[in-house]
Symmetry: C2
Subunit: 116 residues, 2 copies
Amino acid sequence: MSIFMRPSQALRLWQQVSLAEVRADTPDLTMRQMAILLTIYLDPPPHTVRGLAAKLGVTKPVITRALDTMGSLKLVSRHRDERDRRNVLVRRTVEGALFVERFGDVIIAKSAELPL
Amino acid sequence: MSIFMRPSQALRLWQQVSLAEVRADTPDLTMRQMAILLTIYLDPPPHTVRGLAAKLGVTKPVITRALDTMGSLKLVSRHRDERDRRNVLVRRTVEGALFVERFGDVIIAKSAELPL
DNA sequence: CGGTATCATTTCGGCTCCGTACCATTCAAT
DNA sequence: ATTGAATGGTACGGAGCCGAAATGATACCG
């Protein structure tokens, strides 16, 4: 079923979630990194660098560097595709799943508090 | 009225909006800049540097620099408070209002497309 | 007045990110 | 075996942002 929101509620929701993220001492992800992370965790695998770059409309180095950063945060991991060793498959991690889950909880909590 | 969302819907919504923003050729705002901008446009004025810094839980230079950036994008404007010339009052602009309005439209559109 | 507090900005060194261009590896076709 | 295409990664110069500390301007208060 569709969600119904009024513009003021939509904007207020985004503000509240952004404020919560800024205040939190969790590592700050850029909008691009967040889009990549959520795509990895929401869209069906496999995920390759090129595929992600195409989906985001950005260049490959953007993906490579974002994976470097999020990899060092243990939010994602990289593995060579053994069937075609040119490919790198991006996989989820336990830490990443927890991060995404916690982020979803923040959105839910803030949406429940929205004023009329 | 509260909004009801399931976690998968909340995360999918955030992904779709982030993807739309990354793909768009509009200037990329950081999460902090977005939080500041939405606060200026949603919370009642007046908005000072110190007040925004306190609300975001960040240092003042963060606000000053964000206002520099968004000011050059004409999304906000600064004016000295004539009653207490130490203060800088941050004000909305026509361009900023349009930007925020358009952003709200994106959220609404993506929320309407959410899968079950 | 003089001294202190308040507010915003600037400065500094350091870090991350950007896009373009180039490189290394692997595969597939000949 | 050789060539060409495809995939990821790397090097580089430039730009933006970070926090801490110093600076400048204004207000308050004795």
